[in-house]
């Protein structure tokens, strides 16, 4: 081994050791734990793949997985589109841009503990408490008033609505940065060639925003499978399992029910889901971008 390589190995070793201890070892430990039944107190009992078969036979697991997909299309996609729309508006109207940018970004910096309580109060079913139902009563739309967080049909969409409100500020800021990086000459050239606003948007702005869009979507995809706090604060996954996500199931089984082996199996499933989605993304979108870049 050359001296140069030896030195680089020595310098990398501490970081590699820490990474192994803090990431790889727990990950392998989680996989091993998923093959045991363990309540945190008594000796773990090996159960083979029983935790996985229980998981695959569980309605709660499939419902949570479906809810994760709904979350992606409902929250990530919509919040991205809203963020893009607002970024385009703010970019087109520089006047008061700072005020709008700051105001619209504020929900993103709130903690979910605060935002969740706020939305729980807005969506409280009692008209004397819930602002939304109180408003509907006040304008004569009593029949529209609902048990937003307690009805299996509306619980998840209600949490997603709150998450869109809280999350679009992030994509808006990223898109704004992207928009400000588009050379003005390109837009001017398109306009000289006779392109209207819509054509400029479709043929100049949006294509140039594609790398930024990719970043926002990738971060959203990864985040989708990690979502925990909004649901936990607002519904705890209920009523029943109607708004449960995979991360909620992992926490509930591990920390509330002390089914640590089963919780580990769910964690492995969560990892597999994230890995599959990321692989698909890079297979279809990542490659096309590389080809274009070439």
């Amino acid at each position: 081994m050359s001296r140069r390589r030896w030195v680089s190995t020595v310098f990398l070793a501490p970081a590699l050791l820490i990474y192994t201890l803090l990431h790889i070892a727990p990950f392998l430990g989680t996989i091993a734990l998923s093959l045991f039944q363990y309540n945190g107190l008594t000796k773990p009992a090996p159960v083979g793949l029983a935790n996985y078969t229980s998981m695959l036979a569980s309605d709660a697991f499939w419902q949570a997985l479906a809810n994760n997909l709904v979350w992606f299309f409902g929250e990530v996609v919509v919040a991205t589109l809203v963020g893009l729309g607002l970024a385009l508006l703010i970019n087109a109207r520089p006047r008061l841009a700072t005020l709008f940018r700051t105001t619209l970004f504020i929900p993103y910096i709130l903690s979910w503990a605060v935002a969740g309580m706020l939305w729980s109060r807005i969506l409280n079913p009692a008209p004397t408490y819930g602002m939304l139902n109180a408003f509907l009563h006040a304008v004569g739309l009593e029949s529209w008033a609902m048990n937003w967080l307690g009805d299996a049909r509306t619980a998840l969409p209600s949490v997603i609505l709150a998450a869109i409100w809280k999350g679009f500020g992030f994509s808006m800021i990223i898109f704004l940065a992207g928009l400000q990086g588009i050379p003005a000459e390109l837009v001017e050239a398109a306009r000289i060639d006779g392109a209207g606003s819509t054509k400029v948007l479709w043929h100049v702005t949006l294509p140039l925003l594609r790398p930024i869009t990719s970043i926002v979507i990738v971060l959203g995809l990864i985040g989708t499978f990690k979502v925990f706090d909004p649901v936990w604060v607002m519904t705890q996954g209920g009523p029943g399992n109607a708004s449960s996500l995979l991360a909620i199931l992992v926490f509930r089984e591990g920390m509330n029910n002390f089914q640590l082996g089963y919780s580990a199996a769910l964690s492995v499933a969560l990892f597999v889901c994230t890995a599959v989605v990321m692989a698909l993304y890079w297979r279809f979108l990542g490659r096309s971008r590389v080809v274009e870049d070439d």
Partner: protein
């Protein structure tokens, strides 16, 4: 050379730091030893806001009476069960515990708790304590915990709200439905539980279990992990029937327990079937709260009419350096004088007959204490003996039935059974 020395100095300092840190950590242990000083770590699931001041006063008094003893109170930290379970597996276990019954059972089965039967005689409470409180602390014949309180099932009501609907206490299900209709006409909620919170949802099941199932069958089902019996379907169906009859509102599943209690206190809701542990919270919100003289008979021939349960179990951790000191503290803590202080300050219905004499007459706590003897063995529902995963599954099933997402049969088959089978 200078650099080499600097490295050596650094290593020496790091070594000294490590030794110093180890010594510091060792000093944090329960028993410093040598000078006779003893530290007892006391963890309780009671929240600091509810009992904290009383516990702190009692701990201070004990420290004064026993020089050299320090009591570290840790009241209901975030994720109490998880944190406690982790601590109990470490070498730094809390020595004195206030537990739910299911935690007590799990810890006892793992060999983490010690037999405390001698404390009954040492504290002089053998003939003073209610037999039910002793039974609640036994697992396979060994006494692992001493209950601080007994609970009595109560139907609370807001007199202002109920008076507006005629003021008559319903005694049967049909009368309850008729009262609910009058309350609905006044745009009031007849009954609220706050079922959004799983603890409220699973606790509310206690109201229905005695009538339809009773204690024996419930414990047998928990042991067999089989809740498919018709009595369980009937108990769960009762929620749906109450929604259909306008007694319980489907919106209850979207309401937090605190919101439901606030609506009850304001008179926007009228009735709150619960237990004596709710007395303190409700009276703080509205001192006018009252309880029905008799519980509503939800079914013509209930398995048990009255129900009760045990409160916090005081336990001593086995095999710690301060085990003897913790046992001594337990002996002092469960005497009538100490439990009496809690009775006076927090509306607790004590597990000791003599301590309950300190309850103010004509109070809700006095009503509960005076009726404890009505709770026959079949009606003493050890809810906390049912594993927490079972209780949570029941809570979810109740949410599903009340929000009309599933029928009782579907909820048992798809929510309860898969959860308890693991």
């Amino acid at each position: 050379m200078e650099r080499l020395l600097a490295r050596r100095t650094l290593l020496a300092l790091a070594g000294l730091g490590g030794l110093g840190g180890s010594a510091l950590l060792a000093g944090c242990g329960s028993d410093a030893g040598g000078d006779g000083a003893t530290t007892i770590n006391f963890w309780s699931y009671y929240e600091a806001a509810a009992r904290g001041a009383t516990f702190a006063d009692l701990a201070k008094q004990y420290e004064t009476d026993n020089p050299g003893v320090t009591i570290n109170l840790n009241l209901a930290p975030q994720n109490f069960n998880t944190v406690l379970r982790t601590a109990m597996l470490s070498d730094d276990r809390p020595e004195f515990l206030g537990l739910t019954q299911y935690n007590m059972r799990d810890f006892a089965n793992a060999g983490l708790l010690t037999d405390v039967v001698s404390v009954l005689d040492d504290a002089g409470i053998s003939s003073d304590i209610y037999p039910a409180a002793v039974e609640a602390g036994k697992i396979n014949g060994t006494l692992y915990g001493i209950a601080d309180a007994l609970r009595f099932g109560m139907w609370f009501y807001n007199p202002k709200a109920l008076d507006a609907a005629g003021g008559t206490q319903p005694t049967t299900y049909d009368e309850l439905a008729a009262t609910a209709e009058k309350l609905r006409a006044q745009k009031k909620y007849p009954i609220l539980f706050g079922l959004k919170d799983l603890s409220s949802a699973s606790n509310s099941f206690q109201v229905f279990v005695p009538a339809f199932i009773g204690l024996t069958a419930t414990l047998a089902a928990a042991e067999a992990k089989d809740y498919t019996g018709q009595a369980f379907v009937d108990a769960l169906t009762m929620y749906r029937t109450m929604v259909d009859d306008g007694i319980l509102d489907a919106s209850d599943t979207g309401m937090a327990a605190s919101d439901a209690q606030a609506l009850l206190a304001s008179g926007d809701a009228a009735m709150y079937p619960s237990a004596s542990y709710s007395i303190g919270t409700l009276v703080d919100l509205n001192p006018d709260f009252k309880a029905f003289d008799e519980p509503v008979k939800l079914t013509p021939n209930p398995v048990a009419t009255y129900w009760g349960g045990a409160g916090q179990m005081y336990c001593v951790t086995a095999g710690t350096k301060a085990e003897a000191a913790a046992r001594k503290l337990l002996t002092w803590w469960v005497k009538p004088e100490q439990l009496g202080v809690q009775v006076e300050k927090s509306g607790l219905v004590s597990s000791l007959k003599s301590a309950n004499q300190k309850i103010p007459a004509n109070s809700l706590a006095a009503f509960a204490a005076g009726n404890l003897d009505k709770v026959d063995p079949e009606g003493l529902f050890y809810n906390n003996y049912v594993p927490s995963s079972h209780a949570e599954a029941w809570g979810r099933a109740i949410q599903e039935v009340v929000s009309k997402a599933k029928t009782a049969e579907q909820a048992i088959e798809t929510t309860i059974q898969p959860a308890v089978a693991k």
